[in-house]
Amino acid sequence: MNLPSRKQLSPMRDFIVSRGVSGAVSLLLVTFLVFVGTALLPGDTASALLGQNATPEALAALRRDLGLDQPLLLRYLGWFAHAVRGDFGTSLASGRAVSEVLLPRLGNSLLLASVAAVFLLPVAVGGGIAAAIWQDSWFDRLLGFTSMLFLAMPAFLVGYILIYVFAVRMGWFPSMSVAPFFGGAAAWINILALPVISLVIIGQAHTMKLTRTAILAVLATDYVLMAEVKGISRRRIILRHALPNALSAILSISILTVAYLIVDVVVIEMVFSYPGLGKLMVDSVSYRDLTVVQACGLLFALIFIGMNFLADFLALLVNPRQREPARGA
């Protein structure tokens, strides 16, 4: 076999470099926007801390203490330099280090999201593929109808319906994730079940629809028609001719699904009072604990941007057009 030479690898490296740089620029811009936004908008950390009725003298003193009287750019650079080392400052509400507050919550959220992803991806991607293969069948129509329904529903509606049916009426699961976080696997399953089911129901509609569209696009190509004309069996056409070409799309869709999942997690955590990063962020917004909000925002952005990068990278990895240079020897 011909091993890829150094030269042939270059499109890949170009991609990593260019996307890496653009991702970093995005992240930098985002942190700057968030930071400058927080500085420019009416109200700042000091007034947030002291409330509406603070005297101007007290505000000025606190601003000096927090370094808020220094130039904006200097403050941004200082914050940024600390942030890259994982130091997001001190929580204004609890006085503890932000990273210390953040980490356990992040773990809980990642657990919730990853368990949901494990169920969501096979269901949604498999459903989308099946709907495309049996286009216009009763199965396809049914999926079309349910995804239309679920796309229209706010996430909390799904959560509350599940609570009403399975927690209040049936009493199978707790309606809130208030049980202490120990007690082995059974306790975990008990706590995670409803939030996970909610996330799967909310997330599947979009993913299924995108997967179906991607497969249908491939099934409509000339090369699939060509395979049919050659007398290739339907089964082989789908498995060998269509799916590999849809692979990059399916990979992107899957990863973006996970990225969106992390967003749905915020609402679902509030519905179930699940002690994750999303709930922490929302609670901190109501206390106006800006350092924690900033750090949570940055973390969410980082995960989101990372996921998008991964999606593009994997899509490229399985596409020969990108992998192989345009003209060989």
Binding site: S26, L27, L29, V30, L151, V266, S286, G297
Partner: protein
């Protein structure tokens, strides 16, 4: 089938709009007054029962509908105007305008909308103005992202080149060449974004950073009544179902429109 769904959607959406417009006339009670016993059940106190303070749920939903629809429509109008103008400009000017706008939009979009909104609203404080402005800026990026390639495709058409060869001005390009051809996609996208804005504002209010008490939009009503569900009351489901009804009816109309004009579905 699609036509039936469309007619049903139009009827439902029209009914919702009318209900919001004439809320003060239709509502049997004032939304913020305790008129029933706390947690009164439907029938016992009003059409849909009462909340923990004894306020009439049906009246509160009617007034909540005003907030939800009013905010969503305002946001969509502001966002479409900004996003589409910038998209057309970028597609037409290209060069630095295009690159800078593209970068800015990418950066804003690289953070999930709800996270972005939480950060901004945490700092700016929640008021109707900050809420609508924040949502409009975030939504405008989606208009931009959908409409820029559409506009760029149109700009690449030979008939735009014919106008260029003639020496037409910017106004002619935007109004006579680009806008008419982008209109079907724009209208479809506007519908999609309204239904998204409804979910967005409902989500924010549900999280407590939307419409502030004692006023409440539909999402806020769900938040207010959330605890009732654990004691077996269905009251938070009514406003939530109302949200779903809005998005379903808007989606039904958009779906028919997209099918009719066979627009490439570009989901945001």
């Amino acid at each position: 089938m699609r036509r039936f769904g469309f007619l049903l959607s139009v009827a439902a959406f029209a009914a919702l709009i009318l209900a919001a417009l004439f809320a003060p006339v239709i509502a049997p009670f004032l939304p913020n007054e305790p008129v029933h016993a706390p947690y009164a059940t439907p029938g016992e106190g009003g059409l849909l029962g009462a909340d923990s303070l004894g306020r009439d749920m049906f009246s509160r939903i009617l007034f909540g509908l005003r907030y939800t629809l009013g905010i969503s429509l305002t946001v969509s109008v502001l966002a479409s105007f900004t996003g589409v103008s910038l998209a057309f400009l970028a597609a037409f000017r290209r060069g630095w305008t295009d690159i800078l706008l593209g970068r800015l939009v990418d950066a804003i979009m690289s953070v999930p909308q709800i996270i972005f909104a939480l950060v901004v609203l945490a700092v700016a404080g929640v008021s109707l103005v900050t809420l609508i402005m924040t949502m409009a800026v975030l939504e405008s990026t989606l208009f931009y992202r959908v409409m820029r390639p559409v506009a760029a495709d149109i700009v690449a058409m030979d008939y735009v080149e014919v106008a260029r060869l003639r020496g037409e001005g910017l106004g002619w390009y935007l109004r006579r060449e680009i806008l008419p051809n982008a209109a079907p996609t724009l209208i479809a996208e506007f519908g999609i974004r309204i239904s998204y804005a409804v979910l967005f504002i409902s989500g924010l209010s549900f999280l407590g950073v939307g419409v502030q008490p004692p006023a409440a939009d539909l999402g806020g009503l769900v938040r207010e009544n959330a605890l009732a569900i654990s004691v077996g009351q269905l009251s938070p489901l009514a406003p939530a179902a109302c949200i779903a009804l809005i998005t379903l009816s808007v989606n039904g109309i958009v779906d028919w429109f997209i099918h009719k004009y066979s627009i490439r579905a570009e989901l945001g």
